[in-house]
């Protein structure tokens, strides 16, 4: 039994049912029933058209369920309404499901959970484990999400940006958690799928960004599990195939001249990935891309990152000058200040700021890394 095949078919089967008028939650139940049936039947009796088979079985299950609790006349109406069999275009189906799962009426965590469940085909238990919450909690989150979108019609497309935000959230979560489901790989798989059904430069921009980050994954952590900063990473451990693919996708997207946030971020990631050594990084071009990002987002976090890039391109003093223009309560402001002061040769200030930044870090890997930086500088000063 090919689990990947089943998972790949799930979203389009689900969309067919929803489009035929099934309530989202009921449709999902029916599709699950059909999947169970497929696992039982297919090994001995494989269908010629797996998707058609699943749609037929799921729709029959949905009708059975409706028959059980609706009036006779209603039931007859439904059966009369049943559209003629025949596959709807799979691509468009899946796309609409993406929009449904990222509907603006959902909170980010609900949208993420529903996307992993409905589009990704993950089980509730797998999603719960990935997010380190009890299965019952995740089940509630998903069923609330289903209820929230139960009245939403699948007749037009929503905002692509919302879908991309949800996929990026999944990807980011995969960076920090280490569960049996690799959310990073899952985010890439779903974004690839989305890119196959929608023609949008930001979709491929996000895909390129994910691939370029993912390519450096093995080098990001040391043998002790600690964070290894970009400049110190062993570049031979970067996945050159993913880098080549990411850069290729990015170039095609950029050529269309519809720049967006994800393409600009991917361009920065590409410049890092392209440098044979940290010293050969093209910081001048990176600063230019940060300028684009500032223009596109006007985000203080982007300005903070830009200060780092300026520090590399024009020297630590220039970076500190940019930093001084920013609100010092920004997350990571202190860590950036520590880094730039070290580059400027002021080890005492740098050590103090590293320790302060460690106290403010939002995750363990970062806190440990900053604590080690402070300890390293203090040890050097004692020598």
């Amino acid at each position: 039994m090919n689990e990947a095949l089943l998972r790949g078919l799930t979203p389009s089967v689900l969309t067919v049912l929803v489009r035929r008028g099934a309530d989202f939650a009921a449709a999902e139940d029916a599709v699950q029933d059909a999947l169970v049936e497929a696992v039982r039947v297919w090994p001995t009796d494989p269908p010629r058209d797996p998707k058609g088979w699943l749609v037929t079985v799921a729709w029959r299950r949905f009708l059975d369920a409706r028959r059980a609790d609706t009036a006779r006349r209603r039931r007859e109406d439904l059966i009369e309404e049943e559209p003629a069999p025949g596959p709807a275009p799979a691509a468009d189906d899946t796309l609409q499901l993406y929009f449904l799962c990222a509907h603006p009426s959902l909170t980010p965590s609900s949208a993420v959970a529903l996307t992993l469940r409905a589009v990704g085909g993950l089980t509730t238990r797998q999603i719960a484990r990935a997010y380190l919450v009890p299965e019952a909690t995740m089940a509630q989150r998903i069923s609330r999400a289903k209820r929230a979108v139960s009245g939403v019609r699948l007749d037009r497309h929503g905002d692509v940006a919302t879908v991309l935000r949800v996929l990026y959230l999944v990807f980011n979560e995969g960076y920090s958690t280490d569960a049996d489901v690799d959310l990073t790989a899952e985010a890439i798989r779903l974004t690839r799928q989305l890119a196959a059904v929608i023609d949008h430069p930001e979709v491929v921009g996000l895909l390129a960004l994910m691939l370029l980050h993912h390519a450096r994954r093995a080098a990001r952590t040391g043998p002790d599990g600690g964070l290894v900063p970009l400049a110190e990473q062993d570049r031979s451990r970067w996945d050159t195939e993913l880098i080549t693919e990411g850069i290729g996708i990015l170039q095609t997207a950029l050529a269309r001249d519809r720049l967006g946030e994800f393409q600009a971020q991917a361009a920065i990631a590409a410049l890092h990935a392209d440098a044979p050594t940290a010293e050969e990084t093209d910081w001048v071009q990176i600063v230019e891309w940060y300028d684009e990002l500032v223009r596109l987002t006007d985000s203080p976090v982007v300005r903070l990152n830009r200060a780092v890039a300026v520090g590399e391109a024009d020297g630590a003093r220039a970076g500190l000058a940019r930093l001084a223009e920013l609100d010092d309560t920004l997350p990571r402001h202190t860590a950036v200040a520590a880094y730039l002061h070290e580059r400027d040769g002021d080890l005492e200030t740098a050590a103090r700021l590293y320790a302060e930044a460690a106290g403010k870090a939002a995750n363990l890997a970062e806190r440990d890394h900053l604590t080690r930086q402070a300890a390293r500088l203090n040890a050097r000063r004692r020598q």
Binding site: T107, P108, A113, T137, N172, L364
Partner: protein, 135 residues
Amino acid sequence: MAKYLLLKHYRGAPAPVNDVPMDQWTPEEVSDHIRYMNDFADRLKETGEFVDGQALAPEGSFVRYDGEGRPPVTDGPFAETKDLIAGWMIIDVDSHERAVELAGELSAAPGAGGKPIHEWLELRPFLGEAPTITE
């Protein structure tokens, strides 16, 4: 999608507004208080924001390693002087604002006279949330 620990203190926190010890309440007031806490947890289970929660016994002790082959050293309890934690709840919410909102709601549990206790709850974020990917 960030986890927070809500800590309820016996002592150690600033004094609540409605500061009457629980054993001075009427039995109904105690029941109402407990029902409020249970309803709160049930609502969070409903919204998919509940992770776990337990009440703790007031007595506890400090334990320390005392060298190879020796039993651990224990000390305490320090019931008179030390901060004590009465119970905890872990929630998993979309934002810090939501966590503050929920902690505020829990702090409104009714106490003496059926009025909210306005007790101080400690709200601590878990480390380990997803970093934003910037390098």
